[in-house]
């Protein structure tokens, strides 16, 4: 055994990792600087160029509006921004959860049975590029104006994304890896659960991140359906009353929630896929 030649690579590994950490801190600083720069440009543009708070409020005004409506209800008989955010988040989670379950099941069946894939593929290909907004009227006809059409609309966006990414994730698990498991004495069921599905999980979470992002982008469309609460509703209402800074405040909250939830999913992904945690 040549222990010397074997010991060399691991020595290099921690060094590389420290380098990556330094690099990522540098990248984070750069990102923070870019956000601050963006805010400064926004502030200066609003103050010096546009000089009309209805057309473009300054970031400081937007922040003030946001803080104010975190405690004060909007409209006066409505909820605070926190309440609206919670309403939107509940709709998204419900739609996302239902869509994810259906999507993963569909994708698993697509990966498992070729005929099923041939059957389902055209429908997915047709629905995928359609804008969610187009379905609003028909969903109202079908489901009325309660929570159901809102949740269905979000689920409709999630299903094809999850189905495609699940099928692709299961497809890309190599036959060799499955054979390794069989050759180590694993039953077909054990191979399926502990190797094929386990190997696919990180990629399925990637699909979930995409689907979650998609859900947030469609929240305004969803809350065009006779909503009386929710961030999309606030943005639409504020638009009617030319309360521009509140529009921006709503957009900021959507952005913050979207980023926060994506960060959680990324954390989950990192725990499930050790090759990512560097």
């Amino acid at each position: 055994m040549t222990e010397r030649s074997i010991a060399a690579p691991p020595l290099a590994a921690p060094v590389r990792r420290r380098g990556a950490a330094g690099l990522s801190r540098q990248r984070m600083l750069l990102s923070a600087a870019s956000i601050i720069l963006g805010l400064v440009i926004w502030q200066l543009t609003a103050m010096l160029v546009i000089r009309d708070t209805v057309l473009l409020p300054t970031p400081i005004q937007t922040g003030a509006t946001l803080l104010r409506y975190l405690q004060m209800p909007y409209p006066t008989d409505g909820e605070t921004l926190i309440g609206h955010a919670a309403t939107s988040a509940m709709r998204i989670f419900a739609g996302f959860a239902i869509g994810t379950v259906i999507g993963i099941a569909t994708g698993a069946l697509m990966a498992g049975f070729r005929p099923f894939r041939a059957l389902v593929d055209p429908f997915i290909e047709i629905t995928r590029p359609l804008p969610p907004l187009a379905f609003v009227p028909v969903l109202v006809v079908w489901f009325g104006i309660g929570e159901t059409p809102k949740i269905v609309l979000i689920a409709m966006g999630v299903v094809p994304v999850m189905a495609i990414s699940t099928a692709a994730a299961l497809d890309r698990v190599s036959e060799d890896m499955l054979n390794v498991a069989r050759s180590l004495g694993a039953s077909e069921l054990h191979t399926m659960l502990h190797v094929r599905i386990r190997a696919a999980v990180p990629h399925i979470v990637t699909g979930m991140r995409l689907a979650m992002g998609l859900s947030w982008t469609s929240i305004v469309a969803v809350e065009m359906i006779a909503a009386t609460a929710g961030l999309g509703y606030v943005i639409l209402q504020a638009g009617l009353f030319l309360n521009t800074s509140l529009i921006f405040a709503g957009i900021l909250i959507i952005a913050a929630l979207g980023i926060a939830i994506d960060a959680l999913l990324r954390l989950l992904q990192r725990r499930l896929d050790p090759t990512m945690s560097r």
Partner: protein, 269 residues
């Protein structure tokens, strides 16, 4: 190291390598109505504990043959017998090692080694003890908590070997396992494998397209023809064991290597 060197105890005789008999094996692949004849009437006798190398150009059905012995593929005709029993599917007594170590990337080195015992529901404590011993044996004792992507190429192959050995397979099927390694690592892996085999006498069928590798490792080198694969010649290698780095320079080895190269060239015509 009771779990690692089955040859040492008297009660371990059943754990020794198994004999393989391959009779009249044929395999044809169909793709889009077009037939590709991969194997044409393969007959092969491998005595228990032997080290047999299958040498042939790429695309001669060597891998197909290994896949059939492993039970991943079914032959069209003919049969594979292991100690007289017919192979019908994959089994832990025949372990396959691939060109890529194919470790499970979500498991640490130690958990990779423990995959087999866990899948078969074997007692945990004993398996863990054995895994630690095996990791020491393959020189990865300090890397049991590392994930595969944190290991070097050679280390991954050692981990894959440890993962295979924990099941105490009676047959190792090796499909060009060291082909992707650099020359230095490959040489050290070859010697490591020889050392291990000397100790355990597991039956090994080793597929390679490397003349030197086949000549150095095998008791017998079978040269296969390009598609449809058949065994053209079988040469008994009488070089003394243990073999190692010095063997490569021995005059007999040089002669053998030249002879095998000629055989391979003839096979490719």
């Amino acid at each position: 190291m009771s779990g690692v060197a089955p040859g040492s105890g008297s009660g371990d005789s059943a754990q020794r390598g198994a004999a393989i008999t391959i009779a009249g094996l044929t395999k044809t692949f169909w793709r889009g109505g077009e037939a590709t004849e991969a194997l044409a009437a393969i007959d092969l006798e491998v005595p228990a504990g032997a080290f047999v190398c299958l040498l042939g150009p790429s695309g001669c059905g060597k891998s197909t043959l290994l896949h059939i012995i492993a039970g991943f593929l079914k032959a069209d005709r003919g049969e594979v017998l292991v100690d007289g029993r017919r192979v019908t599917g994959p089994g832990a007594e025949r372990c396959m090692l691939f060109q890529s170590p194919t470790l499970f990337p979500w498991l640490t080195t130690r958990d990779n080694v423990l995959f087999g015992p866990r899948a078969q529901g074997k007692p945990r404590a004993a398996a863990e003890r054995e895994a630690d011993q095996l990791l020491e044996l393959v020189g990865l004792g300090a890397f049991r908590r590392h994930y595969p992507h944190q290991l070097s190429g050679g280390m991954r192959h050692r981990a894959a070997l440890a993962r295979a050995l924990i099941n105490r397979p009676r047959i190792l099927l090796m499909d060009e396992p060291f082909a992707a390694l650099d020359a230095i690592t490959r040489a050290s892996m070859q010697e490591f494998l020889l050392e291990l085999w000397e100790r355990q006498r597991t039956t090994i069928i080793f597929v390679t397209h490397d003349v030197e590798e086949a000549s150095l490792l095998g008791d017998r080198v079978c040269v296969m023809s390009p598609r449809p694969g058949r065994i053209l010649s079988a040469t008994e290698v009488r070089l003394p064991r243990p073999r190692g780095e010095a063997t490569r320079d021995a005059p007999d080895f040089v002669v053998l290597r030249r002879q095998m190269r000629a055989e391979l060239a003839r096979a490719c015509q």
